[in-house]
Symmetry: C2
Subunit: 343 residues, 2 copies
Amino acid sequence: MRKKSKATSLDIAHLAGVSQATVSRVLSGSTLVNAETRKRVEAVVRELNYKVDRHASSLRRQRSGTLAMLLFEDPTPDESHINPFFLSMLGSITRACARHGQDLLISFQQLSDDWAGDYEDSMKADGLILLGYGDYLAYQGKLQKLVEQGTRFVRWGAVLPDQPGLSIGCENIGGGRQAGAHLVALGRKRVAFLGDASTHYPEFLDRFLGCEQALRDAGLTMDRALQVDAESSEDAGHAAARELIARALPFDAVFAASDLIALGAMRALTESGLRVPEDVSVIGFDDIPMARFAHPPLTTIFQDTKQAGELLVDTLMTLVRGEAAESIRLPTALVVRKSCGAE
Amino acid sequence: MRKKSKATSLDIAHLAGVSQATVSRVLSGSTLVNAETRKRVEAVVRELNYKVDRHASSLRRQRSGTLAMLLFEDPTPDESHINPFFLSMLGSITRACARHGQDLLISFQQLSDDWAGDYEDSMKADGLILLGYGDYLAYQGKLQKLVEQGTRFVRWGAVLPDQPGLSIGCENIGGGRQAGAHLVALGRKRVAFLGDASTHYPEFLDRFLGCEQALRDAGLTMDRALQVDAESSEDAGHAAARELIARALPFDAVFAASDLIALGAMRALTESGLRVPEDVSVIGFDDIPMARFAHPPLTTIFQDTKQAGELLVDTLMTLVRGEAAESIRLPTALVVRKSCGAE
DNA sequence: CTGAAAGCGCTTACAG
DNA sequence: CTGAAAGCGCTTACAG
């Protein structure tokens, strides 16, 4: 059942009556080939449906023509579930790779894995796209080492001043401000924040800080007693909201650091007899597909995952070509639905 | 900024005082190595953080150690959006590949692309996982050619009698029966079907047929005038439901061929002033993540995407090893929520 | 514009 | 158990 052995460039050369080197030149689009010769070779190539052997080519060129997308998540290493926010980037990352003529490898990684070793040193990939929430401080050192090794990578996440390597992320502070301002405009005064708000989770922290700024502009403050840690998952959101309720402090709005947290929180709120948005406004962050199906539909801060995916790949390719590139912060947008009580 | 040139097996050999061949044997886990020698080599390997060059290894072995997951969708070739049903398989496919020590390549494909050529002939992948809804009849010939070429592949889809190659799919007829039986038990008598129900879309057809059987068992019939074509998307579901309503025939239930169709249909129904589930029961198929967030939460037929992903990879690897494998049909399960009016 | 030749870094018969 | 050697299928200086 093994197929008839594949044609090689030497076979093509014989059939076209040229040297193997010339076949290679034709296929790599070299200009150093006579038009006639090129035609002849191309005809044979088409006829035999010949394809350049990727490994031989990569071995010789010392370039794999492949990018690796590594997903790492602290919480559930054995889960086959992927954070929907990253999932929504997958499509545009895949397409952007195709546009650059690159193949895309995808893999789950633990914090303990040797990312550069497994993908770059083994020549499997020319560059890495790092996606994943998790304790930033915990893998900062790891990123530092990647930089020292000269590994080419780009990560999605907060764009921080002294970070190792490049990031594509969104305007988390700006997004937080949009959320806070919306809540303020609706007359909310006691805003709870669900999600970690420490330097371990800089994206969440910036969202918190942005919201705080918006409240301050309105002469209000964020009460730290209304902040509950939560990683980005529905269950964590549910637990955090229950904890918030248990604290028995008054609040009239919940700003969830992510939509998943917001979804879990709405469930907990409803279970406790609190009405959304009548009793409490809920606003999320991300605008994942599930957000608009929530009940009530979730008002949230949109992050442009399509553009994010493209930028991630474009930036990485710039690095792979050996050119300089910079971190980028994407603007966010408020998406008003029903969960805050607007309209 | 290029990193210091990578160590090769020859470097390791020199440092360990053995031949390059021995280093290779140690790294490929050969038993033909003295325990002492092995220790010595492994120590050097660890110290230099040496990794076998993937391309040199694959070129020599004539095996890529990689599987390719090809997603093809007719409708929106330029969209970066992926059908959520396939997205939910991605996690388990990724993990299953890791378990088999295989890398996973992911790519969008057009029906016109040369799948085998681009991935197998070029040695990029040892086998293909084909995912995608689309006109079965249109690519049946293509699958036939893959078989003739000896390309190793497995697809997700209907398990049909004379199909080319192997499929992993679910019991579509059984699932259709479960849907029909549930509707019947609820007293519904005029069941509409949203989705293509022809041999071009065998999965949808089987679901239709299964539902029809369940109705027949109860002395009822499916009225073909209540069937409206729709591909698996929310917009198509919305349009199909509008078309159904426009036909002005009485119906008290909608069986959507997929959850996406059901979601779009519920929206159209509501817009037309019909209440779900009071006026019309709606049941979907797939149980995508969005289903339980729908309003009302969508009753649907569950397909085990986690197991599907594992089976897809396991079966493909069996083929890659040159062993015989078979198509598999997975059981479905009724998931009762609120959209049919049960409870 | 074209060909002969070297070499990318491995794996695996072949000898010993 | 180990080493010397061939060769996987390309790309790319080097000559002409």
